[in-house]
Amino acid sequence: MSLVPTLETENLILRAPQESDLDAMAAFMQSERSHWIGGPKNRFETWRGLLSILGHWALRGYGLWHIEEKSSGKSIGTVGILKHDGWDEPELGWHVYDGFEGKGYAFEAAFAARAYAAQKFGLDGVISHIDPTNTRSVALAKRLGATYERDGQVLGHACHNYRHPKQADL
């Protein structure tokens, strides 16, 4: 098996991060919206982040996919399961870059990633850490059937933990 499996949905391909993703990722990480995920970061830091995403798969056996829009071949965001040092459980996370929001892509990607994680990684009923002021992400979590569980902290920032339903309960 390759390090990162490739998934296909109706409109998207979820695949390993690659060097050609750097431009799109760097543009996002320099934008204001990147503060939800620890930005802004310069291009070099973003390159290092790209390698980290790949290495997380090697260390944990699961990680973040880069999302490619089938129709354009463009890199439009990331989705997947992360477990940083010190986290008591893995989380499902997503972000879609500017210009690709409002198409249901984050839902489509997160739905597929969540199902794959349950089936192949044994990670069923995972959580998502969400900044409560990130209303779009909160709305998506709810649309995915996740419910508020408790207040938490992620990398020093307050967040809300949303619990996803198990696959059998969908």
Binding site: L51, L54, A58, D85
Partner: protein, 172 residues
């Protein structure tokens, strides 16, 4: 993925970094020994850096090894080949943990990395990028026969001197 090869030298094993090395790696990244490579860092950053080390291998097809004691497998440092975005060329890089200090470990592993670059990867030349204040690393570069060629200004790390190692042709 590109699997990470294991190399053996006289006293060392150069192998894939793994979860068993994390605490030793964190200690190094949080210590003053990491000043020459942009640190010291937090534990959380060290986790990202460990992932980054691993991710370089599938991205580039080569990378840095965990250098461990051949007998005990105790991790002693990080040495190998890397080619970050924005770098002028691929380089040999080395860092030694406190427990590996003063034993010629960086030299032994860096020499093996150079051999791997030439004999296995087929490179003709390789450099090392070193901050001008890092006198210990400069001493090691010189010991390997490298000569300072020029320097460049890195957006994140500041001024880095480029040391050119002996070429494959010269070593043959």
């Amino acid at each position: 993925m590109t699997s990470i090869p294991t190399l053996n030298t006289e006293r060392l094993v150069m192998r894939a970094p793994g979860p068993q090395d994390f605490e030793a790696y964190v200690e190094f990244r949080m210590s003053d020994r990491a000043v020459g490579v942009g640190g010291p860092f937090t534990r959380s950053q060290a986790f990202d850096h460990m992932c980054e080390l691993l991710g370089h291998w599938p991205m580039r097809g080569f990378g840095r090894w965990m250098v461990a004691d051949k007998t005990t497998d105790q991790p002693l440092g990080i040495v190998g080949l890397m080619y970050p975005e924005s770098w002028p060329e691929p380089e040999i890089a080395w860092s030694v943990f406190a427990d590996g200090e003063g034993r010629g470990i960086a030299y032994e592993a860096a020499m093996e990395s150079r051999r791997y670059a030439y004999d296995v990867l087929g490179w003709d030349t390789v450099i090392s990028c070193i901050v001008p204040e890092n006198t210990r690393s400069i001493a090691l570069a010189k010991r390997m026969g490298a000569v300072q060629e020029t320097s460049f200004q890195h957006e994140e790390l500041g001024e880095l001197d480029i040391w050119r190692h002996l070429s494959r042709e010269v070593l043959q």
